[in-house]
Amino acid sequence: MNVSYNWLNEYVDLTGVTPQALAEKITKAGIEVEHVTFLGEGIRDVVVGYVESCDRHPNADKLNVCQVNIGAEENVQIICGAPNVAAGQKVVVAKVGAVLPGNFKIKKAKLRGEVSQGMICSLQELGIEDKFVPKEFAHGIYVLEEEAEVGADALPYLNLDDYVLELDILPNSAHCLNMIGVAYEVAAILDREIQLPTPEFVETAVDVTAKITVQVDAPEKVPFYGVRVIEGVKVGPSPQWLQNKLIAAGVRPISNIVDIANFVMLEYGQPLHTFDYDTFASDKVVVRHAENGEKLTTLDDAERTLTAEDLVITNGKAPVAVAGVMGGADSEVTDKTTTILLEAAIFDGASIRQTSSRLGLRTDASSRYEKGIDRNRVAGAADRAAELISELAGGQVLKGFTHVGEPEVPDRVITMPWQKINAVLGTTFSSDEILSVFRRLRFAAKVEGDGLQVAVPARRPDVTIPEDLVEEVGRTYGYDHVPATLPEGSGTTGILTDYQLKRRRVQRYMEGAGLYQAVTYSLTTEEKVKSVTTIDEASYQPIPLAMPMSEERSVLRLSLIPALLEITQYHLNRQMPDVKLFELGKGFYSKEERLTQLPEEREQLAVVLTGSWQSAGWHAQAEPIDFFVAKGILEGLFNTLDLTERISYQAAQREGLHPGRTANVLLDQEVIGFVGQLHPNLQSQLDLKETYVFELDIEQVLHAENETLRYIALPRYPAISRDIALVVDEQVASGELIKVIKENGAPLLKEVKLFDIYQGESLGAGKKSMAYALKYLDPDKTLTDKEVEKVHTKVLTALEAELGAVLRG
């Protein structure tokens, strides 16, 4: 809402309050003033001139040589290219030495041999945006009214000595979407008097019902509908003062009738609609629900298809307007209009909102209905418009305002214990201080005993419950009056849950392991979602948005890896070959084609690694990242969480991953993640180098219960070590060998560690040698060689029997 300071001054005396100070006060009271703009910004030395004569330039077809009286002793000669300049006009002259917006300085000049001492200005040259310039002056200079005093400063005539306060109107401050509402607000803030307009006009003897009757078929959505008829109207331009007010408010002047309707809407907040009575072509207004598929061409020349949800104004036969949104083209007021049918109505905000959003048609009227208007101002607004039409367009107002519904509703009475205000705010206001707030707001209020009774007028639809009154007191006094205290209530213990604590530990570990934490978008493309399988390899349906803003952000992710790969590409493209990233974030899982319930959300931990793990230095070769770097990070993580013993790895084939360098990660017997190299095809498709990834369902990992932590006595007896080198077929996995060793070495076997792998001709084709260090220990006594030998033999026998492993000779 753009509020003109000069206009507001007509309702509330603003003496002593600068526009900036006023803006500050309004903001502090809860309606943010986003900007204060001086309309004459950057303009200097612009005066009213009278064009004494205007002749064609001798050397240029499109230029005129004007002799202009600017109140000085001598007329000045100005060369003007505007097509509409003419002798006898009062115009805006920028004298030599004047400055126009954009620091445009006016100098004496010669145009095709003729001297020009200044410039006759268009509104655009005075800084008014194109869209607010009346059409008749859009391509030429602006012509002032005859009353303008020659030689006087031109700014006041154009209202360019005004300031505009731009108010950010939130849903609870809709009462400030009009000048009267702002006046009430400002009168309360400044604690000053308010002067409201009192429309006065003469009605003809003919009753309006002779011309029109009103029928409302949807009273639940149309609590009030009224019309006036004004005859003998002459459509033409509005007077200067009206145009100025509209331009300051950001509305383009069109014609007196349209301008008056807009003016009254700005002043009263009541949307009005004007029909051409003759093209309305009926003596009856019927307001009803539209029929499904019913069509109407609106003022913007678009054909609208309506539904039964929409409200329409009809002439008893066909729709002539979408109620509260926009009128129809057929009954639009034109230059030829002589009789006006003026509508002032109240429509249900929710219904208007539905229609306007479905039609994608947001108008000043619809947004006011949506946000709520003063239920009691409808008749007054119709009167004000009638007054102005009779005054400015020479109309005769027929007698009466025919309507259906009550033009006024009683005040809303709210009662509450007055001390509740202090209890909620933490303040110590007296009941008199509280009552003085309501006096300033012009709400009738009284305190009786403990009770406070406040009658809230209809202009404040946002005030409905006691808490709203608390707010009115708080904001009118200002929250600076509220002290800062700390809660006195029951003590609570703030603590991280076990899960949150462990998640933080995972994060610290990943950082310590040399990885950078990334945060990526949850929304991605279907293609990317499908490029990597989910951990559990279930057939989840990627969840699409109903109306995505772009293809790039159209479905919810399952895996975090595709987004991390994008970041990897980003780094590679910028000559940063080493990328080490992790992310903790949610994947979204559902098997439904179309969601009927919320998807499952599970936190995932994903890692992407490429380039060098250790960069080359004076003491080391560069160490490229390989499968075992990725796996090593995982192992460290499980070690941190003390889950090492319950984790195993199994070779696996997965979409998007290298078939020979991928493992599933199992917790107990369940797959909870995977680790591997990106499939070389995908790597080259994404222009990546050798890239390793892993992803864990970190929720499952962190929810794995550990046994209660107990101290285990330190060994008091020495352990006995045995190293073995086993020759096995190439295909035998180390994990299998270790499993057999552990199974058969229990319970004396305490540790088994691979320390060498060898392949060579001496072993024969297809064979390899795997060397392990085994450690045996009995916590209760010193082991004898004999005891160790017994279990060690059992291990070796089992290795040979189960995996064909023989001791290397």
């Binding site: 903001t27 502090k28 809860g30 943010e32 939130l170 849903p171 609870n172 929710a350 909102r353 946000k371 209890a423 909620v424 705010l425 933490g426 303040t427 419950i465 808490e467 707010e471 929250y479 600076d480 509220v482 002290p483 800062a484 205290t485 700390l486 809660p487 006195e488 209530g489 029951s490 609570t492 703030g494 603590i495 991280l496 949150q500 990943m510 950082e511 040399g514 950078y516 934490q517 945060v519 990526t520 949850s522 929304l523 969840i543 109306m547 803003m549 970041i567 980003y570 780094h571 910028r574 990328v579 080490k580 990233l581 974030g585 979204f588 179309r594 969601l595 959300e601 004076w618 080391a620």
Partner: protein
């Protein structure tokens, strides 16, 4: 005899002095102090001396013997010390060469900000509650006093999946869910960090996905002044002890009264600068007293309980705190960007 002993001493000490190896010293020891050495010989020939001479010469012989012995010991130690010094000297390294640094990664700046806020509120007795990012319309809007046709729904255009399911537009649904679980019994004292989504085109100041942290405190006799006090503690901890806060009236459908919190500018201290756009104040968060409808819908009796709620954006806080100029940096994840926040 006396002269002979003196000569022997001179001779032996000279030999010790010139020795450069422990072996040579051993030889000196054997030669002069050994059983067949000259001193032993002198002592052995004592019998031939007169009674007066005997103690004098004996004493002298012993002195000579001790002098040689201690010279040898001293020299051995000196040689050993020298040897160690030589070895250590040969082991010297260039201490200015780079060490074998353990490569560290670091947390995302948003994690830093969120954890700092979490820890601050945990210290004030708040717990951390989390909830789904894909949410029911009911929890995202209706339970927060935003019925289907409420105009405020326009304020946060949303990503719907179906008519009833959407990506949450704020973390407030976690409040509604948590209150529901308390079955009308206070206190509830939580903060809810998490990702939220809105239909915004990504640019320097907008992101279709961003973080939010909401705080909620429901109990008997919670006052707006408690909110002010709590937020003052927060502002001082996050932005410096000298910060002041001010509350400005505002509007949110789920609070009544609603207030916006500004802090005095941490760059200029309130004089007015580019950070605070000349106002001396920086808008930090929205808050207010929980609307009675919200309490009621979540099972709390607004006649008995009151509460406050606040919500803030970690991106905005990080941008202000660290002078980051573009919100997209948080989601581009350039390692050179991330690396800068290791001590955040």
């Amino acid at each position: 005899m006396k002269d002979k002993l003196e000569a022997l001493k001179e001779e032996a000490l000279a030999a010790v002095q010139t020795a450069s190896e422990p072996k040579q010293l051993q030889d000196v020891k054997v030669k002069y102090l050994g059983k067949k050495g000259p001193i032993t010989e002198v002592l052995r020939g004592m019998g031939k001396l007169s009674a007066e001479e005997r103690p004098v010469i004996g004493q002298l012989a012993n002195d000579v013997r001790e002098a040689i012995q201690s010279a040898i010991t001293e020299k051995v130690e000196a040689l050993e010390k020298k040897k160690i010094e030589e070895r250590l000297a040969s082991e010297a390294v260039d201490v200015t060469l780079p060490g074998r640094m353990v490569q560290q990664g670091n947390h995302h700046p948003l994690t830093a900000v969120i954890e700092e806020i979490e820890d601050l509120f945990i210290g004030m007795g708040f717990s951390i509650a989390e909830g789904p990012e894909v949410e029911k319309d009911y929890y995202n809007f209706e339970a927060l006093n935003l019925p289907k046709d409420h105009p405020a729904r326009d304020m946060q255009d949303s990503f719907y999946i179906t008519e009833d399911i959407l990506l949450r537009t704020h973390t407030s649904p976690v409040q509604a869910r948590t209150m529901e679980k308390h079955h009308g019994q206070g206190p509830v004292k939580i903060i809810c960090p998490g990702k939220v989504y809105r239909r915004d085109t990504d640019d320097a100041t907008h992101s279709h996905q961003f973080m939010q942290i909401e705080g909620l405190y429901v109990d008997k006799n919670v006052r707006l002044s408690d909110l002010k006090g709590t937020l003052t503690v927060f502002a001082k901890k996050m932005f410096g002890e000298d910060r002041h806060i001010r509350l400005r009236p505002s509007f949110f459908p789920f609070t009544e009264p609603s207030v916006e919190m500004d802090i005095s500018c941490f760059r200029c201290g309130g004089e007015g600068c580019s950070v605070c756009k000349g106002t001396g104040w920086i808008e930090i968060l929205g808050s207010g007293m929980i609307h009675p409808n919200v309490l009621r819908m979540s099972g709390f009796d607004p006649e008995v309980y009151t509460g406050f709620a606040f919500g803030m954006g970690p991106e905005r806080i990080a941008m202000l705190k660290y002078g980051i100029d573009d919100i997209r940096h948080f989601y581009t994840n350039d390692q050179r960007f991330l690396e800068q926040f290791k001590r955040a």
